[in-house]
Amino acid sequence: MSEHADTNAPLDGNSAAGLLHELFAVDLTSANVTCVGCGTVAEIGRERAYGGAMGVVLRCVHCEAVVLRMVRTPAGCWLEMLGARNLFVPAVEG
């Protein structure tokens, strides 16, 4: 990780780990999400991430459909997961 510009070039879903941790008590980047659009199952860390410190849009690594949107505002935090059929959080290894 390092500083990067807020451009249209996507990063990896892994970059949204800190933001997601504000809502989820477990690390979500190693969780598998199933895309409603195409059925692809991928770790959140592998999806395409658009956005910055204030919010993120995660798109399916295969079909680019939006699987998760999260935005932080001064009033609170929005999470939308219409594009995710389910989320599988694996047990800890070791």
């Binding site: 990780m1 390092s2 500083e3 990067h4 510009a5 807020d6 451009t7 070039a9 996507p10 990063l11 990896d12 879903g13 892994n14 970059s15 780990a17 800190g18 941790h21 504000e22 008590a25 477990v26 690390d27 980047t29 190693s30 770790e43 959140i44 860390g45 592998r46 410190a53 959080v89 694996p90 047990a91 800890v92 290894e93 070791g94």
Partner: protein
């Protein structure tokens, strides 16, 4: 794993105060900050932290930085490259002195992570400061004294831009199964025996492991390098699920 194992131990992220104990100049643009972080919960190689700086007027800027130190190390170390027009890195990689404090939270991210328990072979590809999370993996591998076969391809602009150059030499001199290939894309010193071009298919194929060995592969660096290396490996028959990437954004990006 035991059947009673809970789903990833829930833990709330909280902001901690880091006190810089040492500043190591790695290259003209890169510094490592060795820190004391009370209540640091420990980490796994490849994870990162969020750093938050607060100005006197209350303005806050936040960025993510990879952890460079092994979990076995006594202190947490971040390595930061100075991005000229950045908000955070000019301070962290420029003005920070021992005794200075800032806020951080972590460790963050369980996806781009490798421990010796995950076994190998371990194949690492880095561009520029993309070496940082991969160095945490190599330091961990050395500290754990586990001779997991490992290979690193590391692309830098010039000889002077190679981060951790001496330590990488020492790690390879242990002859415990680690091979390192450097490539310099902009200029090379006289007598340079490493690569002299951007990472390409031939380099990935010859310096890496065959797909039949199913290497755990981690690629970190500028977007262009990461995407090229990841797609090349898939063309060479490597499973996508074994290739993990961490993009830094556009090449030469500012932020």
């Amino acid at each position: 794993m035991p059947a009673t194992e809970a789903v990833a131990a829930p833990r709330r992220l909280e902001w901690l105060t880091a006190t810089v104990t040492d500043v190591i100049v790695e290259t003209p643009r890169v510094k490592s900050l060795v820190q004391d972080v009370p209540r640091w919960p420990g980490h796994r190689p490849g994870q990162h932290v969020d750093v938050r700086l607060t100005g006197e007027d209350g303005y806050q800027a936040q960025r993510s930085y990879s952890i460079a130190s092994a979990p076995e190390a006594a202190h947490l170390t971040l390595t930061v490259e100075r991005i000229e027009e950045g908000e955070v890195s000019p301070y962290l990689a420029g003005e920070v002195r021992p005794g200075d404090q800032f806020e951080l939270r972590g460790p963050i991210g369980g996806y781009f992570v490798w421990t010796v328990a995950a076994q190998g072979p371990l194949f690492l590809i880095a561009g520029g400061s993309g070496i940082v999370p991969l160095m945490a993996m190599l330091r961990h591998r050395a500290a754990a004294s586990v001779a997991v076969p490992a290979r690193l391809i590391y692309s830098s602009r010039t000889f002077g831009d190679i981060i951790y150059r001496d330590e990488l030499d020492r790690l390879m001199a242990r002859r415990d199964g680690l091979e390192i290939v450097h490539t310099l894309t902009r200029s090379q010193p006289a007598g340079w025996s490493g690569g002299m071009r951007r990472i390409d298919r031939e380099m990935v194929a010859s310096a890496g492991f065959p797909s039949s060995q199913r290497p755990r592969t981690f690629i970190c660096g500028p977007t262009q390098l990461v995407e090229y290396a990841a797609s090349t490996l898939q063309e060479l028959g490597h499973e996508a699920s074994l290739i993990k990437t961490e993009r830094f954004g556009p090449t030469g990006g500012v932020g």
